[in-house]
């Protein structure tokens, strides 16, 4: 099956002809060579492949590429504005909220979606909102601190 898929990716139009049932994760990583989006479990239970689709956090390993037809997709590569990090990226940097870095792209995009839905979440709401993201290095405490620090700030790209 060949389908014509068009969507906006990190602010730019993308058009591809491919099988629409393919998963967004592999289209991003292989066809578009945006390897910042990571494979972690393939079942939507670890959050490593999280991207934004129309501002909402989506597991790219579960989403058919046809499902983003006409939508806005943001991956980790599209979050900073030039050299200026998105406030959440900066907060993660400032708080040392990463170690191996493998879960970090999904973690940051999950946090972006969280703050878009709720500009000033409580600590409890942050914990609940991030519960679907696994980090094996144990950076959780610093990730929560980074999200708290970035809450209420605006900036970066969310289209």
């Amino acid at each position: 099956m060949r389908d014509s898929i068009r969507f906006r990716l990190n602010g730019r139009p993308v058009s591809l002809t491919t099988d629409g049932t393919r998963k967004l994760l592999w289209v991003l990583r292989n066809d578009l060579e945006l390897t910042g989006t990571k494979y972690g479990c393939g079942e939507g239970v670890c959050g490593s492949c999280t991207v934004l689709v129309d501002g909402r956090a989506v597991h790219a390993c579960q989403a058919d590429v046809a499902s983003v037809q006409g939508k806005k997709v943001v991956t980790i590569e599209g979050l900073a504005r030039g050299d200026r990090l998105h406030p959440l990226q900066q907060a993660f940097h400032d708080h040392g909220a990463l170690q191996c870095g493998y879960c970090t792209p999904g973690m940051i995009l999950g946090a972006v979606a969280l703050l878009q839905a709720n500009q000033r979440p409580t600590r409890e709401q942050i914990v609940q909102g991030m519960e679907g993201h696994l980090c094996r290095c144990g950076a959780h405490q610093r990730i929560i601190a980074a999200i708290e620090a970035a809450s209420g700030q605006r900036g970066g790209r969310d289209d």
């Binding site: 479990c41 393939g42 990463l98 493998y102 792209p105 914990v127 696994l134």
Partner: protein, 708 residues
Amino acid sequence: MTDRARIRRRDFVKALGGGILVLVSLPSPGLVSDAAAQQRRGYPTDVNAYLHIAEDGKVTLYSGKIEMGQGVMTSLTQMAAEDLGVALESIHIVMGDTETCPFDAGTWGSLTTRMFGPAVRAAAAQARLILTDLAARRLGVPRAALSVENGVVFVTAARSRRVAFGELARGQRITHTVDERAVLRSVREFTVMGRSPKRLDGREKLTGAAKYTADIRLPGMLYARIVRPPAHGATLRRLDTSAAEAVAGVQVVNHDGLVAVLSPDWETSDRAVRLVRADWDVPAPAFDTESVFEHLVQAAPEGRTSESAGDVEAGRRLSARTFDVTYRHPYVAHAPMEPHAALAEVKDGKATVWASTQSPFGLQPQIARAIGFRAEDVRVITPYVGGGFGGKAACPQAAEAARLALAAGRPVQVALTRSEEFFYDTFDPAALVRVVSGMDAAGRLTLWDYQVYGAGDRGTEVFYDVPDRRVRVYGTWSGGGAAGYHLFGVGPWRAPGANTNRFAAEQQIDAMASAAGIDPLEFRLRNTKDPRMLAVLRAVGQASEWQPGAAPRRTGRGRGLACGIDAGTYVAHVAEVTVDRATGAVEVERVVCAQEMGIVVNPDGAKMQMEGCITMGLGYALAEEVRFEGGRILDTNFGTYALPRFSWVPRIETVLVPNDDLAPQGGGEPAIVTMGAVLANAIFDATGARMRRLPMTPERVLAEIRRG
């Protein structure tokens, strides 16, 4: 040094071009574990690091270590910058590339900062000395009149008389070797650095630019899905790959029994591999998650005594009370977020393999053997590693990828799925500990007769004052497989064996304190004279605002204490928990950790590792267990194998206890070793139930509460 090693060193030096090169020679045990093997492969046996100042002033540090999240890219660079006198940003570090970096056995054992750090500092200090001498000649002043700052040497009394490192290095071809004595001197001259720069790998990791092995793309590369058995020990009876081969773009390769489906995209390979019809003979299960412990005792290899003093029989007679308890630890997965991956390219008689490994130099001969190449014709490059914890000490995917690349004539990527990652993990071994201990009427320890099956001796060191003691060790934490003592491949898991051993030892001590009616902190302080242990115990007591009192209090809320030594570092933890006595669910509210690790190179980096250890430790303590039936692994993804999530994470407080008289000790592992025990002791205080088997799941806690 053999001729070959000498030639090899010359090649390295030549490849770097002109400038100033400082080689570090540190033939001490632990750092260079296998000199003979290195020599066979043509590496200089005695060089552990290079620091190069190029003619354009660029400074490059070459290290065989790898970065897997532990932050050594930053701490090594920081050390070099400090002693060389340049800004952190002006040093480039090359890690884990067998072509350009000096030999290194592997990144493990919390050794990098401890052993390798002093070598880097000595090299940097030497380079600074060479540059200062060159500047002295150029400026016509004595060395003592000069200062160094930000890569510039200047006359202290006349700052405008200055010359940059690059100018000094130009036209030079200086090679200098720093030896062990210089390194030890540099350890003595350490000043506490006490600064915590932001991670040098931070920006790349935050923007998605950081490349991990599975992110590397080569023209014409193919993605492999390998035909895997349903159980360990299974043998292939019949294979039909015709349906897979019929898929457009797919080729099936069979390299001496390694059967793989290859195509230019991962999804096609994944779809096609499901069309392969393979019939397997699976042996009848001999053991499972429950019966493995009998096997460990019955099949135990000859034991060895790792520690002995006095006479345990005499100790038994002197004991007013004895305690005979058995503790159990299951198979635990490493479960790094990045599954193992490798990408191999074979071209013109040379193989280049990118691999997610903690041991690039260890992989080199493995790959060579697998494809019939000489080791020197194999180059292993280590991109960022997405977590290792010991699990990436082994990376058989590198040889698989090389074999498939050779067979296919194109670059091949082997990246494990999560279920393959669980299946092929070299687990933290299932293990059993039996402790018989005793004390006199005053609560002084009189007997410690300790036997450990399957976990090895790390963490068994008796730092309590027990005159009559013995530690017997049956088997280790490595090896295993079909015919081995261990039922599955097992290997190092963050502080290998120590989590098992501290779980047993610190509960045993706690149980004795309780039986004596003595406060657990007081009991420990009374029974050890080790000044470093006393210091961390007092520090954790103070930081947690410990109130004296014997356990158990049985109020549903509890606090626990546990301590240990690992990688030269002393740790003590206090945990506060709430136990739901109706469900057995444990909520960890607070963990306080005091750690004394000698000189602290990067305090924030050290704390980050402590927090990571505590958080990761919640997993093996409360939930992680790889269940199996014979050779079948029943937990193959995070749906049933639970890792710690955000809601589990307590308030974590870390305290670094200063000891600037001691060289830096290990930091990546110590703070995890007591997590099982400290939570078990807190659960005991809350409920009166003793948890002698890991993990302490709600079902098990409830069962113990009901047993009373």
